[in-house]
Symmetry: C3
Subunit: 277 residues, 3 copies
Amino acid sequence: MEESMQEAIQACVEAVKADQPLVPSITNTVTINLVANTQIAAGGSAAMVYMADEGAAMAQAGEAFYINVGTIFPLYQESIPRTIKALNAAGKPWVLDPVAVGMGGLRTELLRGMQEAKPTIIKGNASEIMGLAKAWGLLDQDQSVANKGVDSLHTPQEARQAAQLLAQETGGAVVVSGEVDLVTDGQAVYASSGGSELMSHITGAGCALGGLLAVYAAKADPLTAALSGVNAFNYAGQRAAQKTQGPASFQMHLLDELYQASPEAIASNPCQREEEA
Amino acid sequence: MEESMQEAIQACVEAVKADQPLVPSITNTVTINLVANTQIAAGGSAAMVYMADEGAAMAQAGEAFYINVGTIFPLYQESIPRTIKALNAAGKPWVLDPVAVGMGGLRTELLRGMQEAKPTIIKGNASEIMGLAKAWGLLDQDQSVANKGVDSLHTPQEARQAAQLLAQETGGAVVVSGEVDLVTDGQAVYASSGGSELMSHITGAGCALGGLLAVYAAKADPLTAALSGVNAFNYAGQRAAQKTQGPASFQMHLLDELYQASPEAIASNPCQREEEA
Amino acid sequence: MEESMQEAIQACVEAVKADQPLVPSITNTVTINLVANTQIAAGGSAAMVYMADEGAAMAQAGEAFYINVGTIFPLYQESIPRTIKALNAAGKPWVLDPVAVGMGGLRTELLRGMQEAKPTIIKGNASEIMGLAKAWGLLDQDQSVANKGVDSLHTPQEARQAAQLLAQETGGAVVVSGEVDLVTDGQAVYASSGGSELMSHITGAGCALGGLLAVYAAKADPLTAALSGVNAFNYAGQRAAQKTQGPASFQMHLLDELYQASPEAIASNPCQREEEA
């Protein structure tokens, strides 16, 4: 990674710890607590809402926003579009987590509608990134995309092209989470490693990362924020994995390590800028 | 327990670890995270939904399903019946957790409607098993059944007859959770021990067991799946209790131990087949 | 603190451990699991509901009730007023947690409606206590009250007058949570210390305290219950903080310590009755 990018990451992580930005969410009920605790551990201030008027109010009050469609409720038909409209009107960055894209009528309608709204950062596993690119008409409709519920059946490298196309479409950044996370702004592609296999043995590791990306998006441009998030999460994950062999204690250590991680350590996590294809 | 049953349990636990079956849920918001983490710790793939069309889609996509009515929402009036219809049309096994049966109009209506739908496995505490048997007209309507919110005021042995009647009604298996768990297919009754008193000092131990039963139901007949679940949970609970005296650390160790438990160890957990009455 | 108050706290904590009162909740989805586990760790029996008829049924069945408006759903328009009506008709104590007062139409409407209903105990951070007093017309409408999402931008001492006015309005007790918690019945003001800075680095410390207050409200007058809750929480928090430097392990130890805390130890937590102003 370029030294200038390392410095930008360090400054972003420091700014979050110093300012504790308010970063509200509309997110799923399964991992909502973990998302909030992850955001707080990094230095952010979390607030979760469901109602349309509260989404719009929080879009105004917050510095960034996290939208995760993991568990769809009927009221999202109104609250998600209205929140996004308020975010874009106010020029606030927001992170989209297109969980289980392709399942369900309302989920599909909401995710299609986000193409025009242009999320600042999109984060998903490989199946989700490929699925969203297909839903937005950016991938060949004949290309096969498979998932297993909320889990991926593809590797991040398989989703590399889809990630770049999504980033070019939005003008923001895209993160493909996996054993090695890919981050792209549509041109450059970075690969961040150091996480743990145990990440896949807890629910919500991806959601926690998404919430974390939104916190950093409050304090940096999309690519820097995305790189800050994946490197913070991988750094903490690697240290947590050294302390335990079980998934529940791993989750506990992951939050503790994220809380204790210094900006310097996060900026020094192994992360390679890949050669242009 | 018969040696053949021990072998069947071991095979079931191994199959889950090898195949990581997708086992979606409609479950309560209180313990939804614990249910997902329990399912994943055992080797399953979890996915939680609320919407009717997503319940039906997940019934098709999954290998089994968990339905827990702990916290009722209005949209369940449509989503639970439609999901069950899809499950039964596809011949997929599903586990019912009739939490707080007897409270509320919609809860009562939904649980009554499940008599015809015949859940593959029913799991509840003693009060819930007795309450469901009464709601389905299988117990004398004069028989007194008491509960305290979501907690039981009866012992599993008091619910023995109700459990057998329910299993005979559905043709599946029934689990009565408690200090010693009872498992029956309507004829044989097994008693699995080894859990911990600390189980009653955390919320969702019963829900976690229910979600776990659904994972094993993906890979075995109802009785084998039920015995796999209770023995896995009791084995992990006993080991977790040796490591701590507090409920929150107990919950953490419970998930860690479940993740690390070998199929052989689970199949060897103390479990007696009781003499016919 | 007066010796008679210490004795009353000890008796209250003992009664909860002995009787395990059922204390249902309508509470937010972010911290619902932590609230339940906190209530259970202290000896209570938790049960969470959303539907109006179930709120009313649980108001009847329970010994006290916890209402936290952290995450508003449309169905609360019916379920919260109906539950409160049932609570007051039955003379059951209830605790109000006016999270994020001032945001959103339905939240505002519900919180305004509670002025007449007179919650037994109100608990909030300083911004929430000041905001509720203002919403109820008890504070000068020109007084500035600021918050950051669900977080406070004021100290408990700044909310001292608002707390006293609220307690005088309801005839109950008010708790202002913060580094030092204030408790008042409208006349006397107590300051309980001993908690941990780590409390502010997890989500739901305030909600957990609110749920705990409701458990103690089942067994004592409002002031005694409020003092029991804050001292139990601070005692456990201080001990937990001695065992860890990270927020997730702190939360685990907090619940473990609460479970293990003796009534004597809780009653002996540092808590000063302040001189009348």
